[in-house]
Symmetry: C3
Subunit: 365 residues, 3 copies
């Protein structure tokens, strides 16, 4: 169901403060995780489940570097080792809670849900945080009651900007619809994701920006998207005055240069948390622009949620309903194939008999 050996976003760094009660409870890929920040600033992630009788550690208390379960007072180090059981001198052998590797990068907190030995920070999706000096990123978040595979398919094909987002990110005019539904993308399958590059030529400004330009203004839009398992989606989006050409890199005057970073995090099979940002490069920013970009994402992702939640309900009702393939499925199919390949590999590894070679591998890991 979920790739375990992957980095899952647990939210923005400001969600885990030095506050006395700043214990962040999350569900990540079906697992309950509690996050907190040590006095030195490092973030700790532990399974949110006391090894005694499964009390929620997120109802506990921070104590120096440690986390104390407030049911019976067991104290755990950031590594998940029990260091104190009030009333006992000897700490039981198995009194430990599963720790998860954590990395903060670009204002996002990343948790590795699989084998810690495989937790390579190099696998963390590249993104741009709100603290980045060159970009004016604005952040937001949303809960969506849909399986994350539906979100993947949604993000891997932007033709829906002409329909779902006709009033916000896209448009309901014939040019926008024609251009968006005829995108010719260049796909590069990555070991853990998909890069998608394309231009949309000679379109009016998206609906939410159209009032800023003359009616006859046309733009060339450039998309460079990196989609990573489970579902981190980073888009470098640029706009240029349309140069009248149909191919090649746009040569018109640059109008906008923006980044949007989006992490869709499966809680379980039926819902996701969505952490997203959008912002302008500071060279192209002007007062209110980046706030507007964030604002339109709030609107647009509610439009998506409306569609995806109804779709999730129907897919859940009829999981085996026949499907019809469209040209727009190319991106979604490629990205879901990457996901399914990783899922299959993990299942195969889990099912494999323990051969000496494998045992060595496990030890090495």
């Amino acid at each position: 169901m979920f790739v375990k050996n992957a980095w899952y976003c647990a939210g923005w760094d400001f969600m885990v403060s030095q506050g006395k009660n700043a214990l962040l409870a999350r569900q990540l890929a079906g697992e309950r995780v509690v996050l907190y920040r040590k006095p030195d600033g490092a973030v700790v992630a532990l399974e949110d489940r006391c090894p005694h009788r499964q009390a929620a550690l997120s109802l506990g208390a921070k104590e120096g570097d440690s986390l104390r379960c407030m049911y019976h007072g067991m104290k755990f180090s950031p590594e998940g080792q029990c260091t104190e059981v009030p009333g006992m001198t000897r700490i039981p052998d198995r009194a430990c809670v599963r720790p998860f590797p954590v990395v903060e990068r670009e204002n996002w907190i990343w948790v590795w849900m699989g084998d810690p030995a495989l937790a390579d920070p190099g696998l963390i999706p590249v993104s741009v945080g709100y603290s980045h000096p060159d970009w004016n990123m604005k952040t937001s978040q949303m809960h969506v009651a849909a399986n994350y595979r539906l979100e993947i398919a949604n993000l891997a094909d932007l033709s829906h900007l002409a329909w779902v987002h006709q009033k916000s990110l896209g448009g309901d005019d014939a040019e926008t619809r024609t251009r968006y539904t005829n995108i010719k993308a260049q796909y590069t399958v990555l070991p853990r994701g998909l890069r998608t590059e394309y231009e949309v030529r000679s379109v009016p400004a998206p609906n939410f920006l159209r009032h800023l330009f003359p009616a006859e203004a046309r733009f060339d839009l450039s998309f460079d998207i990196t989609h990573t398992v489970p579902c981190t989606w980073v888009l470098h989006f640029q706009a240029f005055v349309a140069d009248g050409k149909e191919e090649g890199a746009p040569t018109g005057d640059p109008v906008a240069n923006t980044m949007t970073c989006q992490a869709v995090v499966p809680n379980d099979a039926d819902s996701v948390e969505y952490y997203f940002s959008w912002g302008s490069h500071k060279d192209f920013d002007f007062p209110g622009l980046s706030d507007l970009l964030r604002e339109v994402l709030d609107v647009a992702f509610l439009e998506d949620a409306h569609v995806l939640e109804a779709q999730h309900l129907r897919v859940t009702e009829k999981p085996d309903h026949p499907q019809v393939a469209l040209v727009h499925d190319v991106g979604p199919t490629k990205m879901l194939k990457v996901l399914d390949k990783l899922l299959a590999e993990e299942q195969l590894a889990a099912a494999a008999p323990a051969t000496p070679a494998k045992q060595r591998g496990a030890v090495a890991a």
Copy 2:
């Protein structure tokens, strides 16, 4: 669970207007259906499930006679054929959505949930709509969290007017109780339902009307009910000044002549939508009467819902709990037997091996 080859009521005609966004989403016998009205006024019903990836068509847009899915822009004719896929020149073979036969009759919209070849409008239950020139019908609706079989049993035996509806449709006096619990009905089993006729003799006015008459007034009540699968219930109800007789057609002065039309529509196994009306023949109407009839049904069906929802909970908990048969079960048993016979026939037909004879039958159908 549900008879497929039957007409299901999707509500009143005014629920499907020419409004731009007037797409009506319904669950009928477990299936999701979207209804809309074409410019020529005809109502269309399609499965509310895009053949691409199960997006809700009810979140789409009307476009002339067609319905466009607003996820990826697929356009469907009223017959469910895909006529356009933006971005594609060739329409995939299986790109169609299931259409359902629809008929409007007496202000109700009827949808046939089974084999379209069998959709005989002659099977639509006879009723009286709010536009009927002779009757002053008033309409209402209710959601009830109970299986529709419990509603069938409720409607097929009106002895409960003396108990559930003692404050509304019935009465808590000894005469009402005695008369209603000793009803001798004449039953006529129909191919798809049950006709039930009887008189209730020499009773006080029902509680909600009692203030209109002297305390000693007694009436003979005449009931003529047609109950149709799945659960449409039409009652011609008349009242006469009691003639003191125990048998035969009432001969006293007529006091009331009313029709009530009720469609109990299973959404799924756990709830129904209830569309109902009550009104007086215009020859017997006076200001406020028909409004009062509608008003008391709102009260009475909340009384029923209270009982049926608690019953549904208990039946769901203990589906195999032993039952005791009462004399009042005659009507419910007859009507449920009609339902079960149709269900069994459909199951048998579905399970039958495809013999040449059967294949011919299928083609003929």
Copy 3:
């Protein structure tokens, strides 16, 4: 899942008044029960399920000593025998509803959920009601969405007063924590429960009372707890001025002498109703004290509910998650073992083939 042959608390006596509509609907150990009070004051408990078609008898009406189902008017004696079916002269053979033995004691209503022949009032847990002449008991109640086994474990080990209840019943100071987490209890396993006796020496007053005493005041606390299946918990709690000793009966001046009676009643596997009281012996009472005791239980049991509901969620998610044993499990383990022994005995009896000996036993029972 539930011991059947046991007394289950259905609430306080004032919940079953002589009111016309005073029909109390309960779930006890998974069974639906309706309770009402006869004109002579005796309380009747019947299965809340009409034998006809499972209508809720709790939506019925009291009629003298009897209960009338208000769906079709069937009337039941306090013994569950049907005595009238309106419209029928002969009452069907199996027209009866299961009666449950009921006893009122100390303002609590007790219902026996198993074989009536085994319903020995001597098995009712000893408690002190709000009408008791010597104690000023105050009552309250709470719903908790947790399995009752988690409540048993919670009540059978009070070391959590130093953690869960640090702001209310316990304290967050080092002395309180040390003393509460090093309790040496004396356990006496009873046929249907567990008696637990211990002292907590030289601790500050519990947090909710601390403002009443000088900061340096220390107390010896005496606990005498009787825990009974399924989960009735009665504590005789006394406080004395600390005598400086570590062992033996406290010899300091008595400061408080209280009783708290608590019945945790499983509705089903996922929730309990909690009826509880706390009060001072009248010789030690002063204005507002007993109200304060009741008040702090409302606070403290919300603290517990917060912990137990999160724990219940996690245990439900991972029922087979490994557990670590702590010294604090001694009480919980003993009490759950008593429960499990009774459960196993009942399962064994239910599964046993009917031998002549057993049949005699059943007859004798």
